[in-house]
């Protein structure tokens, strides 16, 4: 268990800035997710923590000790971390047991201790029967379990996971997600988990850091993140909210040439409305573009000027595509800053 602290970290590739002044503190034993769209710099951030990339500016501390910063650069092999890669990265020329034993071999432990700890680690991921198999005889889910056992066997200070589940099919993903959660409960290792899947992040984490364009937009517990998104981007990325920019006059909000009555008062240039908070049947008439049956509910898409407004409601409305339906908002979040994606 250890803390990880990034302070005003910058990173650019060539002339493209990728991480722009990122600050973050991961507490000891915490499970923190880095969540964000593709290309926002999640992997880069994780690799900087790992030591696989140098930081350009700023300071990185692990367990309170500076490991990367001006005049300091501790190579990855000395940081005492574990990492699980998206592509598994299980060595094809070594058996399962040899893969898992490798970090211990490098520590120069005795053969008996290594064997015992490899057995223990394989037990965590339920792979003991596969110890002597070559990786070519394992499935994707099993390979990723080998990678997890290998990353944890030396009891790292921090476990880094870069989209470990994204190469797996949906059912396996669920299963392995549960296993990561229970491993984390047993071992109590600090974990940093990179993903672009909000469900994964919300389900697993103590806190989620939502990244966009190389900065953290909000860092909060899953519930807080969902209930009180700090920026329009977080509202739309985590809750799937409609983000609308316009002007407020009293309780009337004008956007894309349409006027809506907002619940409550307050200044705003941008509002975020979750699809489930779009009420049908009263308010401003909008043309229905599409009606998508989701099973328990129906998603409606309305034309609002040149953008699309999404609503989710019970599967009873008989509105037909092309009709005008009255639309209002039961709950909105107001933001003073304009939206940017």
């Amino acid at each position: 268990m250890a803390t990880v602290e990034l302070e005003q970290v910058f990173k650019q590739y060539g002339s493209t800035p990728v991480v722009k002044g990122l600050s973050l503190k991961v507490e000891a034993g915490e499970f923190l997710s880095l969540l964000g769209p593709s290309g926002c710099g999640k992997t880069t951030t994780l690799r900087m923590v790992a030591g696989l990339e140098r930081i350009d500016r700023g300071v990185l501390r692990i367990d309170g000790r500076v490991v990367d910063g001006p005049q300091v650069n501790m190579p990855p092999e000395r940081r005492g971390l574990g990492m699980v890669f998206q592509s598994y990265a299980v060595w094809p020329h070594r058996t399962v047991a040899q893969n898992v034993a490798y970090p211990l071999t490098l520590q120069g432990l005795g053969a008996q201790e290594i064997a015992a700890r490899v057995q223990e680690a394989l037990g965590w991921v339920r792979l003991q029967p596969f110890a002597d198999r070559p990786p070519s005889q394992l499935s994707g889910g099993q390979l990723q379990r080998v990678a997890i056992a290998r990353a944890l066997v030396a009891r790292p200070k921090v476990l880094l996971l870069d989209e470990p589940l994204s190469n797996l099919d949906a059912a396996l993903r669920e299963e392995l997600r549960g296993e990561i959660a229970s491993l984390r409960a047993t071992l109590g290792t600090t974990m940093i988990f990179v993903t672009h899947d909000q469900h994964e992040a919300l389900a697993l984490s103590d806190r989620v850091a939502v990244m966009n364009h190389g900065v953290i937009e909000q860092i909060a517990s899953p519930e807080q993140l969902y209930r009180e998104p700090a920026t329009p981007f977080v509202a739309s990325f985590v809750g799937g909210a409609n983000v609308l920019t316009g002007t407020v006059d009293g309780s009337t909000f004008t956007t894309h040439g349409e006027r809506f009555e907002l619940p409550g008062e307050g200044p705003a240039t941008t509002i975020a409305v979750r699809p489930e908070h779009v009420r049908l049947g009263e308010g401003t008439p909008l043309r229905l573009l599409a009606r998508l049956f989701l099973g328990s509910a129906v998603e409606y898409r309305f034309a609002l000027g040149d953008v699309v407004l999404r609503a989710v409601g019970p599967a009873v409305e008989a509105a037909r595509v092309g009709d005008h339906v009255r639309v209002g908002f039961s709950q909105v979040r107001r933001y003073a800053s304009p939206a940017e994606s």
């Binding site: 030591g51 990492m83 990265a89 290998r150």
Partner: protein, 529 residues
Amino acid sequence: MKRSLALALAVGAVAFGPLGVLLSRGLGVDWLATWTSPPTLLALRGTVVTSLGAAMLALTVGLPLAVLIGRTDLPLRRTLQAAFTLPSALPPFILGMGWVGLANPKAGLLNLLFGVGTFDIYGAGGIAFVLGCAAIPLVFLPALASLARVDGALEEAARMSGATPLRALLGVSVPLALPAALSGAALAFLFAASAFGVPYLLGVTATPPTPTLTTRIYSEVLVGSEGLARASVLSVELLALAALLLVGSRALARGVLLSQGKGGARRPVPLGAARWPLALASLSVMFVLVVLPLLAVALTSVQPVWGQFSGLTVKHWSSVLSNARTLDAATRSLVLSLGAASLVTVLGLGLASRRRGWLDTLAGAPYAVPGTVLALALLTSFARDVRFIAFDRVAFVLALGNTAWLLLLAYVVKHLAFGVRNASDGFAQVDPSLTEAARLSGASPARAFLDATLPQLRAPLGAAFVVTFLTCMTELTLSVLLIPTGRDVLGTLLFDLQSYADPGSAAVIACAFIVLVLLAQFVRRPKEA
């Protein structure tokens, strides 16, 4: 199915028919006695010793070089890679000529510098050395390709497990590239065992002479009809050795583990303080093994008398270039090489378009047959006219013996592998939906092939043509055995001039080969990028 069978029979007949005829020539001979006779054993020993030495040299230079160039921040990697790829495009005979100029015990340049008798390129050691240098690309290139396919995360996972960069390289990437390198070393052995020019140049006149199977076969052929039978028996031995090596190489290559992931996107391992010393060492190796012998050839071409360095002259150049024999040989080489390259490309396309793996393998098989054996097989098969009689009336007479047609046939049979391999790699890359789209737009199958499929094959077919053309232009082994009496191609001219006391003129032709090959490299470079 019937057509496939007929095609298989035809290809099989061309690939293996002559070998069968060759075998039958040895039927009357006491095989065991021939194989266990002291001269044969000596030749076998020569082949094994020189080939083993060559394979080991190729491996010890090729693998570390591939690791340095493929996985580290060594300076001048591109230069080194280009230089160490070069020997694969040149006939090894030229490197041999260069080394004769450098390390002839009496008059070699190095011996004039370091004292007479310091180096002696003649004999088993010299043959192994020269063939080893020529075989470096056979190990280097597959190892490099194999390293490039290793997923970068595999090494990073080792770093995260606590390994230093060097340890991660040696513990992960090198073992993953090793099967490819070993498989290449087996090919290097096969290459050296099949070589004829270098063992002839450096073995026959060595004291004591170092015969190999190929040079023994050649000298038996020169004896005449009785020798031909013995040569046939020796060929079987060489052929068995070749088959063994090929199987070994294939088995080793099967160990090439394709790692998941896309490879690439990896940070080269920083060499730190060792960066420039290692670069200097690599450059020195490159200079000695590749550049120096070629410079020596160039130097030989301007020496007034061989081994004399004052009063350099262009007399060899002017005499060779103005000689009618040179012109005649160059024309014949050009015509034969263009013909062979066209046939190889077209036949390769035709065979590969059947999309049958075994057919490709069959058509590619003669490439693995040592040139001496293949030439001998064709020689015996067409020594007499072959008659086909159809319907009891029409007779076709195939009289190829002692004509340039036989040489053309040999070039095509030997290098058909280039055409088939390139075309079938090309077909594997072709996007079938483009052809299907053409069909749905109303094109007939033939039209769709021409308009949609063929354009996608242009690059691999072009490469097959160029490689075949260059190889035939500089070909030596087949040419020496199959050239009609009194005629020449460039390869036989080079061989004759070098063997019979005019190394200056031979060097001129060698220089022409070097220039041709370098030009081709530069022309092809931009296309690959």
